[in-house]
Amino acid sequence: MSGKWNALQALSFLECNARQRAVGLVDEGSFTELAGPRDRLSSPHLPVLGEAIQFDDGVVTAVGLIGKRPVFVASQEGRFIGGAVGEVGGAKMVNIVRLARQAFDTMSAVKDGLEDARRPAVVISFDTGGVRLHEANAGLLAHAELIDQFQDCKGKVPVIALIGGRVGCFGGMGFVAAAADVLIMSQNGRIGLTGPEVIEEEMGKEEFDASDRALVYRTTGGKHRYIMGDCNVLVADAVAAFRNAVIDALAVPCADIDSRRRIGSLEKVEGQLKLVDLCVRLAPKDSRDVWRYAGNEHPEAVADMSLARFLSSVKRLTDAQGGGTP
């Protein structure tokens, strides 16, 4: 068993399935799946439409430990209908966050002034194109409920979002991930609202060529999000790298974690408005224009840089330049 968990750490986060990610993120031997395949909580809507189902409805929910801390994990399976969020999978995500908050309340009631090292946390590995169109109303509701839950977790339970899967994180789930306290991505991770194919479909190839992978990555990918301040931490594409980044993020005192958020306070909204203003003034034609503005003299070299070189040399958009937040 021990060999298995260790082997998992070295694997590509991108290539792992949802369950492997969830198992690898928490301490060895501590993974306990909740509402797993054995419970056979699959979608009631898909069979009616003649579509294949999955026993866990495409979301792995579990509780495990990182050190002394109970960590509540949700991990989306991008290979099952593009990780799209339906009624059951959505409810599982909402309830894993709710469980974390209840655990916090219970633990705080037993011992006043719960120390940070024992504080429950939520970790969500996103790999989704957003709502599942077959059950769209229920799926959308889950999006709203998740953001509600995140807000209720504020100051109690840190919520950490991870994006490094094949699908990325698009549609309404782009909002949800952005509403987390900390966002950790790999270069392969992508986040956005309207996905590249949909933009092309709506606005034409001249506006956005979804088959241009380089364009897609420098517009939605981890490096761009890191420069813009949308993502807090950029890591290598390995389970261990994501796990270590989660451990580091949890080491930040809970009182300070709010400063890492993108939204959720008046100051954050003002920051975002400044960014919109900058966008109007700069009128960038390409993300490279913004990279140059941020102080990167050779923006064309950024995309091909190794992660180590990128992290040591890149200039991120600052508050003074009118940047976003984290």
Partner: protein, 105 residues
Amino acid sequence: MRKQLNELNFEFRADAPKDFPSEFLHYGVVGSGDMEIIMEKKPLGGAVRVKVLTPVSGFSEVWRRVLGRFVNDTRIGNASIEINDCNATPVVGSLRLRQALSEIE
């Protein structure tokens, strides 16, 4: 024609079956052209009962052969198998069944 999710049920009996060694086993992802499997120990007088949910129509006989060969080759008995399929080919199906079994150390 109305699209539907087909439920196929089979029962197999290997020669001199060995008791299925695991209480519960889950393997695979319902990706495009792929499938997931649950295998459980169940007292069925040595038989193996299989339930397949698949959006593909008209391949019942192919499933029977793939599953029958798997049960005969591996000689498992007293097991219940459930499969959620999403257009897996017979080769992929055969491979996934064997991979699932190899998860038991």
